[in-house]
Symmetry: C2
Subunit: 327 residues, 2 copies
């Protein structure tokens, strides 16, 4: 095995992936310019949001690739990273519509940007609804753009690697989507009489929606593309899953207590007063309680968390949990 790339290589990778993300999405928009000048608004919102992001998934894909002898900054792994980042943006745009999130990557969320554009153009119909509808379509467009970029990236691989990698990509995308569905189900489902039922569901949300997709699957994808043997891919999976869980837990903490100037989203956005989308007590209990919490404890945890968050010190507690968000 090769060693992983040092910090400067990572910076070069991020820069190459960011360039490719921008160029790839611009190609899609240029190719469909005959639909009309009206699509420029949609493209501008995506281009703005795509400019942010840590390129985390691209970096893990490159780590898996290089661990099995893939050459650094190879076009195929840069394009794969760009495809993963386009997919990430697709998922975030839909997540933000679903959660009605205000900001993303330090900017107004896509559906808010589109609703603002509706107002600027003095359009008829309802601005909020227009924003949400066009953001659903923007997410779809980004998902197709991701597939298109991954087509380019994987097509030049040998047959076996290409087939395995493509299957990994669609498995990952389906898994994240089902994990996000489980998340909104968990937010809506009534409490079970048995606390371990809620705890189990929160753990499944964490794993399906975030942990596998943030680290394990990009790592395995890069390794597969480089022709890693089955036990090599299996090792990537065993290494990646716990790192992904740790990443997601840390990301959730930053979402509540982090510095908005660094995270790009308001601290405690998950704890909005009056919202039913309060941070998930069962999920937090994985961190802070030795056993599944009792019903009373579950109700107390949001209050406890809110009292620790300076922005929400004077807010009253919400009573419905919310599982962790993906960034």
């Amino acid at each position: 095995m090769h060693t992983t790339a040092p910090a400067t290589s990572l910076q070069h990778l991020r820069s190459a992936v960011s360039d490719r993300v921008r160029d790839s999405f611009a190609e899609v928009m240029d190719q469909h310019a005959d639909v009309g000048p009206e699509i420029t608004d949609l493209g501008a919102v995506a281009t703005d949001l795509l400019d942010g992001g840590k390129r985390l998934r691209a970096a893990f894909a490159a780590a898996g690739w290089m661990a099995f002898g893939g050459p650094e900054l190879d076009d195929r792994i840069v394009a794969t990273g760009a495809g993963l980042e386009l997919f990430q943006m697709a998922a975030l745009v839909h997540d933000d519509v679903i959660d009605d999130s205000r900001t993303r990557r330090g900017r107004p969320a896509a559906h808010h940007q589109l609703a603002m554009r509706h107002d600027e153009l003095k359009m008829m119909t309802d601005a909020r609804r227009y924003g949400a509808s066009s953001a659903v379509l923007l997410g779809d467009l980004l998902l197709v753009a991701a597939m298109r970029e991954l087509d380019e990236a994987l097509d030049a691989l040998p047959d076996d690697e290409r087939r395995s990698a493509r299957r990994l990509v669609t498995d990952m995308m389906a898994g994240v989507t089902l994990g996000q569905y489980l998340d909104i189900y968990a937010q809506s489902a009534p409490w079970s009489d048995d606390p371990s039922v809620d705890l189990d569901r929160a753990r499944r949300v964490l794993r399906a929606k975030a942990a596998r997709y943030s680290v394990e699957q990009p790592l395995c994808l890069g390794a597969t593309m480089a022709g890693a043997p089955p036990d090599g891919v299996e090792s990537c999976s065993r290494i990646g899953l716990p790192i992904g869980e740790a990443f997601q837990l840390r990301d959730d903490l930053l979402g509540v207590f982090g510095d908005p100037a660094l995270t790009g989203k308001p601290a405690g956005d998950d704890l909005r007063e009056g919202s039913e989308q309060c941070f998930s007590p069962p999920h937090w209990s994985v961190l802070i309680l030795p056993t599944p919490p009792s019903s009373a404890e579950r109700l107390a945890i949001p209050t406890l968390i809110r009292s620790c968050s300076p922005e929400h010190a004077r807010s009253s507690p919400a009573h419905k949990p919310r599982a962790p968000s993906r960034r």
Copy 2:
């Protein structure tokens, strides 16, 4: 060139494609069963809706394939048809959320089915919002399932055919999505002082959202897969586009005046009283007026149409156009 398949062959194709659609989606759900039993609800809604449909796009893909020597009922063209039908369902689920349509293929639309399930499970949170959010995710899942099935279908083709076909698929998906965006833009945009501006936009909606995607692109995809030369694919395009436009105009007429028992959707759903989603006068004027309509004519056309529709004879006219819907 070979002759196109007779009616019995078409029936066999429809049946084979329907089986493949059902099996392919079931494979995706089985593969992700570890996400948890909660995803069963989402799968059941999709399976129900996927059971309907005319398999129109699958039939045009098979026509293009057989026209250039592809063997009848070949696995690759059946899987391609199934992929197109899964994509069609993905687009319809999102369309129905955007338009808040009540029914689809004779059943409640996906977001209504999911909201009903919310009530059955006595869930917390808002049922309508839960229905819309989970239908956004169901559309995403169907889009990924479509890509997965098309991967299978195209992967065994020779390199050149595979690359051209894959590019055609992502071009088609991006084009439909941008056409749908142009549609909601057209519904929201204020009238132009120049009637030809609105007419031009309505024509672009018709072409981008529906006409190319219903006939031309499936036909070209089948031809490309069979190794048709560039001028053969170009012929498919020239034949397919006007047929697609005619199909869409006919489909719109059925949407207003058709028999709900045959169309699977209420007659005049596009003309709902009090809704801003009234059928597009500029679009209709392509059919019934020799020149672009004046402002007064544009306002009069919805009234005229409504007065012809028995279900809406007593409704007052709505004043905002709606471009044609895709079925």
